[in-house]
Symmetry: C2
Subunit: 248 residues, 2 copies
DNA sequence: TGTACATCAGTGAACGCGCGTTCACTGATGTAC
DNA sequence: TGTACATCAGTGAACGCGCGTTCACTGATGTAC
């Protein structure tokens, strides 16, 4: 026995994903990202690799053991942000008790998005703000980016299944090509609802993010003293617009 | 008579605002801004004074005769963008013939905002995108920024004056503090309408900009083939949400 | 179990570049008498 | 009308700084026999 050393079991020794070196590597990678996030707050997307390295007490070239270049680090931050948003929204709906209170579920979803955004405004700006000059997000960001919208789709599908989702009242949808597209999107999301509710839900989704961007990007400064309650009203009125029924 | 030289009249000679030197100065200032706008497209807000000077065939220090520093140039661009947006929206409403077609006026306003934004996406991002790291907009930007919203306020006031603006249907407004705030905003804008329509109009305003940001910041890529008609439907359905009556 | 070798994280110097801003200056244009 | 002086746009050098990325290297840790 080699003194007190932890003896890694066979699986751990063989599996590079859990070897000691791999674990340290994963921890370093996480630390680099978290330091980079701090810099995002002050420098925005003009994030500097050298500054990150400096903060970690490393030489800048060392970062290249972890990320091939600056864009790859940015991509990692973006992916993390999308996934964090995805997790937070999925949890919000999963832990909402009354499954048939569709308005409640929608509000919980909306507040989850906003709470996360308000807590990490710079990560929100990274994924929902102006595009980063000279940066092209890879395809791998698409799926994580869709997660919150899939939560909404599930709420709508559930409401539709109970027959509670009303299917009229808003403006007629024209031209025909637009109807087709909205149907396609609705199917893609697995909502399986009518084109009218789908269109209204997408409009509400637009307003949700519009509201958060207005607040975080400073357009509500000196306008609303308590943006949270204004946001709450917007969510509630959007629930009505979508046609969601309240709890029974 | 001095050959063909234009002889400036007394007023022009005396008034520094129109002297030849002042005119050249104004032209140079405009050219600097337009070159800077081109750079905005490629570099975003990481706009470089040296690059602008290079494009103009000047030495970088020469720009300091026109702008005290980089932030002042940015401020000038931001002011221009707000004013361009203000002009375009004011014109859209002023030239709309049927003054009692309130839905039509709202749609014209919305399309004017989007058309301008689509034509100059980088200027739109400058004023409605993520905040610029390390930059604080001066107070002088507030008034120009409000111009498009004032156009909406006028449409609402006109609709209200004809008694055509409905005042019910959306979610009740709570808490009381929120009601007070919305009333204050409505008065500030001179809309003179009820708190319900005011709240709904502000929500529609949020969706309007949310929709444009979604489109320009790439969140609708591969989603809607024709974002203009989707935007048009959103505008129309928001008109109903606000409670605007169509043309008679 | 011990030893030789391979892997890999981190170093430090360098390349080639860019930036905002200051400052003393030149020379053309405008102003006052 | 002509001349002396003031104003001002633009120059060019410099200051002090930062950046992303490459590359040969050292030395510690892991692996194979």
């Amino acid at each position: 026995m080699r003194e007190n050393n932890v003896v890694p079991d066979e699986a751990a020794r063989k599996n590079p994903a859990t070897s000691i070196r791999a674990r340290v590597r994963a921890e370093m990678t996480e630390e680099i990202k978290s330091v980079a996030l701090r810099h995002l707050a002050t420098d925005g997307t003009a994030l500097s690799l050298r500054a990150v390295a400096r903060d970690m007490g490393m030489v800048s070239s060392a970062l290249y053991r972890y990320f091939a270049n600056r864009d790859e680090l940015l991509t990692a931050l973006i992916l993390d942000a999308y996934n964090a948003m995805g997790e937070v929204t999925e949890n919000a709906d999963a832990t909402f008790a009354d499954r048939e209170d569709f308005v409640g579920r929608w509000m919980a979803l909306g507040h989850a998005v906003r709470d996360w955004a308000v807590a990490q405004p710079h990560e929100y700006a990274l994924i929902y703000g102006s595009p980063i000059p000279g940066y092209q997000a890879p395809e791998t960001t698409i799926d994580p980016a869709t997660r919150p919208l899939l939560v909404l789709a599930r709420i709508l599908a559930d409401a539709h299944a109970t027959g509670a989702l009303s299917d009229s009242g808003a403006a007629a949808i024209t031209p025909a090509a637009l109807t087709t597209e909205i149907e396609r999107i609705s199917e893609l999301l697995g909502a399986g609802i009518g084109v009218q509710p789908a269109a209204r839900a997408l409009a509400a989704w637009t307003e949700l993010y519009g509201a958060i961007s207005f607040e975080l990007f400073g357009r509500l400064n000196n306008v609303f003293a308590d943006p949270a309650s204004w946001f709450d009203w917007q969510l509630r009125s959007m629930a009505g617009f979508i046609g969601l029924p309240a709890a029974r």
